[in-house]
């Protein structure tokens, strides 16, 4: 995973699927990373490299969303693929993730 800290916005670029197989290690990586940026004022998850997201992946993203809430900073998801966006739409997660509805 890649972290870009610019203008106090922390953008995390995931580099692979977010599924039950990868989620645990991604989560560990996330927790470590987030510790390094305590003063970030906004959190962005860049899913441009993400192919598949299953329920565990969703769970992870929701966890990230909650983490941002605890820090009282805004959170949004960018560059999700159409199918991922569709999933968000079905489950009514668009708003939370700051994603516009899939076409």
């Amino acid at each position: 995973m890649n972290a870009l800290y610019s203008d106090t916005t922390l953008t995390l670029t995931f580099d692979g699927d977010l599924t039950s197989t990868t989620v645990v290690s991604v989560r560990a990586e996330l927790i470590e990373l987030l510790k390094n940026y305590p003063s970030a004022t906004a959190l962005v998850a860049n899913l441009s490299q993400v192919g598949q997201v299953d329920s565990m992946g969703l769970n992870l993203l929701i966890g990230l969303y909650r983490e941002a809430h605890f820090r009282k900073i805004p959170f949004r998801i960018e560059n999700a693929s159409p199918s991922v966006r569709r999933l968000f739409g079905l489950l009514n997660l668009n708003e939370r993730f700051g994603v516009s509805a899939a076409a």
């Binding site: 989560r27 329920s55 565990m56 929701i62 909650r66 983490e67 199918s83 999933l87 079905l90 708003e95």
Partner: protein
């Protein structure tokens, strides 16, 4: 879009804007009243309406945002969430988004509302988890909460006879464990029916706990399938399926807006509250609504389908209103003519055939007035609507600038023409921003200055003298003329020498210069200096004027005066030569005819007339306007006694006609600046009469308020302002006088008991110190004294430490010395206060202190300790100063009684016994001058020393005070000086 649709869209925009306005106002109010149920309901309904109507036009960006707002508001309403400042900010920000989107609905998608929506959604999740919980809702059953449900989908499903189910899914366990991907699963679901809504539960805990638990999702699903079939298709246990009752849906749908043909558009949606459309509204085909006053919305009843009943409104175009008004105006003209004709002739004779006509005409007259008034009300609006908007602005500014600012609005009921209110919106907004930005200091600084931490901004409206006066006042820094001048030079507005020559008032005017801004950092809040000059231009464009008043360190006031563009006012019609003028009845006190007994006299440089006890300045209208005047012999004319604010003056005119109700018509641009006229009107026969602007006429032509009062009192007061003196002789030809206040006691002694020691005379008292005796002639430039007779008097002064007394052979009389009759030029020297001719004798008035000094006695004014025997009466109407004076004096004087105004003080004086009166000058009922006049007039109180306290310190006042017989004039509030004044009063000169 078809014409119909365009029209409908226009209506939507209108209504939405009305809702948005109430929304904003209510949100600001919510901060102070977070638990107001009616308020919360109103908020919910406003957003709900917007969402509903936006839905028809498919304006999803608007509905999405509105839905989230609605959901969070529902939580507030149900008490499941409590509002805080952040939430209010969030709502206000969202309202702003809505406003932008509503203003251009076709481009609504361009507005970036992601952050707002995310923030609102967060509130939903964390304060009230989407997982349904127990707790009844007035509208939706618990299991349906958390859904964003489109009522149309529900309706159409029900119409087709489908079932509506609430299905609970555990995504991992139910779907993926069975080997399906989520997307595939949902594709299957959608093949079986219609997915109306979905809600995903947010798991507890943060990142650390994520992925540990299951992800739950609830669906609202419409399908023709029976429950058991559905369960097997979804492979779910039975407890995951709920099917809400048909009744639940009916109830809920009844509260939802429904799509109906255009004809009943207006009636099916809850009628909007009669709020006013903001000026930024794009003008659709149907134009601005009539602000028919509506009663406050009644809170929705708890049950379903509770319709809110508000007064029905109708939209009417502005041009139609104008046409109605003109027609009504002409009707008034006709009515006035009719009144003249139908008026009974002198002597009460009625024209044959016209009996009963008078009654009918009166009836028509009344109806005409009512008609005019009612139509005008359609254009008049209370200014409170505009003022109300400022609450939000002040709140936001306070937050943004980190200052505490309170807004007070006065005169919310004052009604102004709509055009005027619209025109004022921008200038006033800017002025308020300026107060907040530049005027009010940060809380810490204010506390250091002894001010309350919260700055106050006060905006007020009032009808005054035929104009409307709007003030924006703050209690902040005030304007610093030096700073302004420096900035002007720096900005190149003025050259340095020009700036140096400016008076304070002129320096204030610099803020209106283009390109002028004194903010060290030009904040984006009030913008650059271009703001104030635009404000002035805008106000002048409305036909008004802006004035500034400021006290450095205490605050600034900006006073806007506007003409009354619309009104029917009762006015007196007067004339000079062939002209006719209207004088607003509001300002007219009485009419007097100058006569031999009461002529118009010259006094100082102006004309005055005596009215009972007062002298009032008189302005001659013909002279003012450059019309030919008539001499007093030809026609004395009339003097209208007018009242303006708290000044009174006379206006001399040639003739006086009737009092009429006139319709005020504004003057065109070319005539805005004349200063004498505030409008025009049409009289009965169609003649034009100009309405006089009394403030403009009086401006600069009346002696200042204080000076005119001085004149008023001068004549009378001069006779009353005297000082009580004692006349005595000490053997020589001259008569001496000493102020009685100086005299402690007088004794008669045998000259033989006077002992001469070391060149001085002494007298040993039986009880008391030995007194040194002085012969006045020894020390004054007068003829020397002769030998003493067998018995002499000695005058022992008051409040002199030294044991000394004056020898007086013969005590003559106590009398009054008129204040201005003291001649201080003819005889000068130590011990001489002046001379006066009293009772045909030249009298030398003795200055005790300098006499003593001439005699080598160092007589200082008595120490403060002397005051401890004083009985003081204080007349002061301001609580603050009462307290301040009380604190200054309680431990110094013997006793202090306090009266709250002149009348009360007068009453006290009758019954009480006082050594000195301290009085404020400006008090209601009876002011300080008047009180003093009464005191001087009263036989018993004549000699009572009077000290005046005033907030003002100017020459006029001093002169006036002296003329009124006030012994001492002090400005508020210096304790030292006050005490010194007290001692001086007791032993003057």
């Amino acid at each position: 879009m078809s014409a119909d649709e365009t029209e409908m869209l226009g209506l939507f925009v209108q209504e939405a804007n009305e809702h948005l306005e109430t929304l904003e106002t209510d949100l600001v109010r919510l901060e102070t009243c977070p638990n107001d149920a009616a308020l919360l309901n109103r908020l919910f309904r406003a957003v709900h309406s917007i969402k509903g109507t936006a839905g028809f036009f498919g304006l999803t960006p608007i509905t999405d945002l509105a839905h989230l707002m609605e959901s969070v508001m529902a939580l507030l309403r149900d008490g499941r969430l409590h509002s805080d400042r952040e939430l209010i900010n969030l709502f206000l920000g969202s309202t702003d988004h809505l406003q932008v989107m509503v203003a251009a609905p076709d481009r609504a998608a361009e507005v970036d509302t992601r952050q707002a929506r995310a923030a609102l959604a967060t509130r939903l999740d964390f304060e009230a988890p989407a997982k349904p919980s127990a707790g009844g809702a007035p509208v939706l059953p618990a299991c349906l909460r958390g859904f964003s449900i489109d009522p149309e989908l529900v309706r159409s499903s029900l119409r087709h006879g489908h079932h509506l189910y609430v299905i609970e899914l555990q995504l991992t366990a139910d779907i993926e464990a069975a080997g399906q991907t989520l997307l595939d699963y949902f594709r299957d679901v959608e093949s079986l029916g219609l997915l109306i809504a979905a809600a995903t539960a947010m798991s507890e805990g943060g990142l650390s706990e994520a992925v540990a638990g299951e992800l739950q999702c609830t669906l609202l699903f419409a399908t023709a399938m029976e429950p058991d079939l559905l369960l097997s298709a979804f492979n779910l246990p039975a407890d995951r399926l709920t099917c809400p009752d048909q009744a639940v849906w009916s109830e809920w749908l009844a509260t939802q807006p429904s799509l109906v043909p255009a004809a009943s558009f207006a009636s099916s949606t809850p009628p909007p509250p009669a709020a006013e459309v903001t000026p930024q509204t794009p003008q659709p085909i149907m134009s601005t609504p009539t602000p028919v006053p509506a009663p406050a919305d009644s809170p929705a009843a708890g049950g379903p389908a509770a319709r809110v009943k508000t007064e029905e409104t109708v939209r009417i175009s502005v041009s139609l209103l104008d046409a109605l008004m003109n027609l009504a105006g002409e009707m008034v003209l006709g009515r006035n003519q009719l009144l003249r004709i139908a008026a009974p002739t002198r002597g009460g004779a009625v024209t044959p055939g016209q009996e009963g006509l008078a009654g009918i005409v009166q009836g028509i007259s009344g109806v005409t007035t009512d008609l005019q008034r009612t139509i005008m009300r359609a254009r008049l609006q209370p200014v409170g609507g505009l003022f109300g908007r400022f609450n939000r602005i002040v709140r936001d500014l306070g937050q943004k600038l980190g200052k505490e600012i309170e807004l007070e609005t006065v005169g919310n009921d004052v009604e102004l023409d709509r055009a005027l209110i619209e025109g004022l919106s921008d200038p006033l907004t800017h002025l308020i921003r300026n107060c907040a930005d530049h005027g009010i200091e940060p809380a810490a600084e204010r506390l250091r200055l002894g001010k309350p931490a919260a700055g106050k901004v006060r905006i007020s409206a009032a009808h005054l003298a035929g104009r409307v006066q709007i003030e924006v006042r703050d209690d902040g820094r005030g304007l610093n003329p030096d700073l302004l001048k420096a900035k002007a030079v720096e900005k190149g507005v003025l050259a340095a020498d020009q700036a140096a020559r400016l008076t304070v008032a002129e320096a204030w005017q610099l803020i209106f210069a283009p390109g002028f801004s004194t903010a060290a950092v030009v904040s984006d809040v009030s913008g650059r200096g271009v703001g104030m000059d635009v404000v002035k231009t805008n106000i002048e464009r409305l036909g008004g004027r802006v004035e500034i008043d400021s006290v450095l360190g205490h605050g600034t006031a900006l006073i806007i005066r506007l003409p009354l563009t619309l009104a029917i006012i009762p006015a007196l019609i007067v004339g000079c030569s062939t002209r006719r003028f209207a004088v607003p009845q509001l300002n007219l006190l009485e009419i007097v005819r100058p006569s031999a007994e009461r002529p118009i006299e010259r006094f100082g440089g102006s004309q005055v007339i005596r009215l009972r006890e007062e002298l009032l300045p008189v302005i001659n209208l013909s002279t003012l306007l450059g019309l030919p005047t008539r001499t007093a012999d030809e026609a004395p004319g009339y003097v209208l006694i007018l009242k303006l604010d708290n000044r009174r003056f006379g206006l001399q005119v040639e003739l006086v006609a009737d009092t009429e109700e006139i319709v005020v018509k504004p003057l065109g641009r070319h005539l805005q600046g004349t200063g004498f006229y505030s409008g025009a009107t049409l009289l009965g026969q169609g003649e034009i009469a100009l309405i006089l602007d009394l403030a403009g006429i009086a401006a600069g032509r009346l002696p200042s308020a204080e000076a005119s009062a001085t004149r008023a009192l001068t004549r009378e007061a001069a006779l009353i302002a005297t000082e009580r003196i004692l006349l005595f002789r000490d053997g020589s030809a001259e008569t001496f006088a000493l102020h009685i206040a100086n005299i402690g006691r007088i004794e008669k002694i045998a000259s033989s008991r006077i002992e001469r020691i070391g060149g001085h005379d002494f007298f040993r008292q039986a009880n008391g110190p030995t007194l040194r005796l002085l012969r006045i002639q020894d020390h004054l430039p007068v003829a020397p004294a002769g030998a003493l007779p067998a018995e002499v008097h000695i005058i022992v002064p008051r409040l002199i430490h030294h044991a000394v007394a004056l020898i007086a052979e013969q005590i003559l009389d106590a009398t009054d010395l008129p204040v201005d009759s003291l001649d201080t030029a003819s005889l000068r020297g130590p011990g001489v206060l002046g001379t006066a001719s009293l009772q045909n004798r030249l009298t030398v008035v003795v200055d005790l202190y300098s006499l003593l000094q001439a005699a080598g006695i160092d007589a200082k004014p008595p120490k403060v300790g002397q005051l401890s025997s004083l009985r003081v009466l204080l007349a002061e109407d301001t609580a603050f100063f009462r307290e301040a004076v009380r604190r200054s004096l309680t431990e110094v004087v013997g006793s202090l009684d306090i009266a709250e105004d002149g009348e009360a003080a007068w009453a006290r004086l009758q019954t009480g016994h006082y050594d000195v009166l301290i009085t404020d000058l400006e008090m209601p009922r009876l002011n300080g001058f008047e009180l003093t006049a009464r005191v001087r007039d009263d036989a018993r109180l004549k000699a009572l020393p009077v000290i005046a306290l005033s907030a003002r310190d100017c020459d006029d006042f001093h002169a006036k005070a002296k003329a009124a017989g006030i012994d001492h004039y002090e400005t508020k509030l210096d304790r030292e000086r006050l005490c010194r004044a007290l001692t001086q009063v007791l032993s003057p000169h």
